[in-house]
């Protein structure tokens, strides 16, 4: 009898302990494994809300603008936001943006691509280890420093070659912007070329080709999707670049194609207008968002194109 109760007690003890362990595990699960995923998901969705926030602020305030300025006036030639009778034609800004981006690409694409070819196909491992970090340093310098460099060094230097060059001009801003973008083109294209398997190179070399012929006829065609994507991304970067053009390209709002003189880009317009006194609620203030929206569409579009190219035309080995 006594023995039985003892046994019974033992049983209930064991059961209790089992229960407690079960409860403990359940509690642990309750607190962290339920709350933490929610917290992490919330954090991850912040980035989605940021994108939404950007799109919403741009669209809402741009709509205010388009209520007063019809689209055909927006895409016209005359831009004079601060006049008594203001006009908001955006074509000068588009021309300014495209010309500075074009000059930048003329610098960045040939130099960046050939540097990528050298680093990926010709340089020894030792040279690569020295040269690549230097390019990364160049990529890490703030754009305001490049702006200062363009204005205080490149422009005076170019003035000696081109006599009529303005103190603020698109040419030197574009060139310096190109220099800034070289590391980006070089490192993205190099990644694409290094992804081409060595067996393909060896095939070409075994048939008696020189390294340059292998690069031109085998490596480049195989890596073309990555190279194209890097160029498109570089264009998008050039279009969105701000401080260099604000400082070195000035703020002329006349429509012209003369790169030796000042032109304003879309980004520079936004900076000029906000740092001036754009009172909230005026048409001028809302024009910022219209220009910003156009800029956002441009860069987002280029980015999507780059993603499409690298996905669609990628050769898989």
């Amino acid at each position: 009898m006594r023995f039985d109760t003892l046994e019974g007690n033992k049983m209930t003890d064991q059961n209790m302990i089992r229960k407690q362990i079960k409860n403990n595990i359940k509690n642990r699960k309750n607190i962290s494994d339920r709350i933490m995923p929610v917290f992490f998901f919330a954090a991850a969705s912040v980035s989605v809300f940021v994108t939404l926030g950007i799109v919403m602020t741009l669209i809402v305030d741009a709509l205010h603008f388009f209520k007063e300025i019809p689209l055909n006036e927006f895409f016209s030639k005359s831009l004079a936001p601060l006049r008594k009778d203001p006009s908001f034609g955006i074509l000068p800004l588009i021309v300014g943006t495209l010309s500075s981006a074009f000059i930048a690409m003329c610098v960045a694409v040939p130099i960046g691509l050939t540097a990528a070819i050298y680093l990926s196909e010709f340089a020894s491992e030792r040279k690569r280890k020295i040269l690549k970090p230097i390019m990364e340093v160049l990529a890490g310098i703030p754009t305001i420093v490049y702006g200062f460099f363009a204005y205080s060094f490149v422009t005076p230097l170019l003035m000696k070659v081109i006599p009529g060059l303005g103190a603020k001009n698109v040419l030197s801003a574009g060139i310096v912007m190109g220099i800034m973008i070289i590391p980006m083109v070089a490192s993205l294209s190099e990644d694409a070329m290094r992804a081409v398997p060595n067996t393909m190179r060896e095939g070409g070399l075994g048939l008696g080709s020189t390294k340059m012929e292998v690069t031109k006829k085998i490596v480049m065609p195989a890596a073309i999707s990555g190279i194209m994507a890097s160029i498109v991304l570089a264009v998008s970067r050039a279009i969105g670049e701000t401080m260099i053009v604000v400082i070195a390209a000035g703020s002329s709002k006349d429509l012209s194609l003369d790169v030796t003189q000042s032109m304003q880009t879309m980004t520079a317009y936004i900076v000029e207008f906000t740092s001036g006194d754009a009172a909230s609620g005026t048409t001028g203030y809302y024009s910022l968002y219209a220009v910003g929206l156009l800029l956002f569409i441009f860069t987002l579009g280029m980015n999507l194109v780059a993603q499409y190219i690298s996905k669609k035309y990628r050769e898989v080995y």
């Binding site: 962290s32 602020t57 540097a115 310098i141 420093v145 060094f153 969105g240 910003g292």
Partner: protein, 301 residues
């Protein structure tokens, strides 16, 4: 072609040799030209640093670092800008670390393969390519006007945090992905649940990678000018900021205004150059720390 292959007369051999020689010469010539492209970057970097150092000589001293802003170039100092930049970093570090690492943990550890995960990933990579001026407009509308933070350190810091968020997310993701699976399995095998595993196993191992990303994003935030200018930071602030809500100026903004005003006062160019030297020194130190962390503390399994 056919003729050369069949015949073995000395003349055709000569033709072949000549052709090969031409191709090899072309190869070497292009190789040299292409190597110049890489050297070009090095050259530009040297000229840039040399020019800026040259312009800052004589202007960069303790008084410049400790002094207040002034319209007289001889008296001007950047103490206020240094404090402003530090304040910005104080906002950027906690916000980006918490948001960025949590996003990375969600994407790598919790999210299932599928649409939601792909959507967030694409979204982050697109966010990384949005021009920084646009973030300025976002900050102006949301933080400065809607939440009424004005052009305070908090508004600037939050704007910059959103701007650098993709950098820290991507580098944290890479760091977490590099943690080998057997560590996770061992932890689960010992009875740890998911959060304990993340906290005690994955994060400590991934920490060097995460820190490297954090330092890179901080150095990006330190150099950003455009979003702050769009927020409407006043031109000349003589008081040193004393709280997170006060108006401020930062190193890159000071460089910007001094560069613009070189038309009025020539010496401002020297002040801008001296400020650039300070900024680049800080960035250089930060990046060296990142490299040391990466090489010293990164464990390979």
């Amino acid at each position: 072609m056919e003729r050369i292959l069949i015949s073995d007369s000395p003349k055709s051999l000569e033709v072949v040799n000549k052709q090969i020689e031409k191709r090899i010469k072309k190869n070497n010539r292009l190789k040299f030209t292409f190597s110049l492209s890489t050297v070009f970057s090095l050259l530009v970097l040297m000229i840039l640093l040399y020019r800026i150092l040259l312009q800052s000589v004589g202007w960069l001293d303790w008084d410049f670092l400790k002094g207040m802003l002034s319209i007289f170039p001889e008296k001007a100092g950047i103490f206020g800008a240094i404090v402003g930049s530090l304040g910005l970093i104080m906002v950027v570090i906690p916000v980006t670390l918490i948001l960025g690492v949590a996003t990375a943990i969600y994407l790598e550890e919790y999210a299932k393969e599928g649409r939601v995960r792909d959507f967030i990933k694409i979204n982050i990579s697109n966010l990384a390519s949005v021009p920084s001026v646009i973030f300025g407009l976002l900050g102006l509308t949301v933080f400065a006007r809607f939440f009424n933070l004005g052009s305070s350190i908090l508004a600037g810091g939050l704007t910059l945090s959103l701007l650098v968020l993709p950098i820290i997310v991507v580098s944290s993701q890479e760091a977490i992905r590099a943690v080998p699976g057997f560590l996770r399995e061992a932890s689960y095998g010992m009875g740890a649940n998911k959060w304990t595993t993340i906290r005690k196993v994955i994060l400590p191992v991934a920490l060097p990678g995460i820190l490297t990303g954090a330092i890179l994003s901080v150095s990006r935030a330190l150099g950003e000018t455009a979003p702050l200018v769009v927020l409407g930071i006043p031109t000349l602030i003589l008081r040193t900021p004393n709280s997170i809500m006060s108006d401020f100026t930062a190193l890159p903004i000071q460089i910007y205004y001094w560069t613009l005003d070189t038309v009025l006062t020539k010496e401002y160019a020297n002040l801008a150059a001296a400020t650039i030297v300070v900024l680049l020194t800080v960035l250089f130190l930060l990046n060296s720390v990142a490299i040391v962390i990466r090489n010293k503390f990164q464990r390979n399994f």
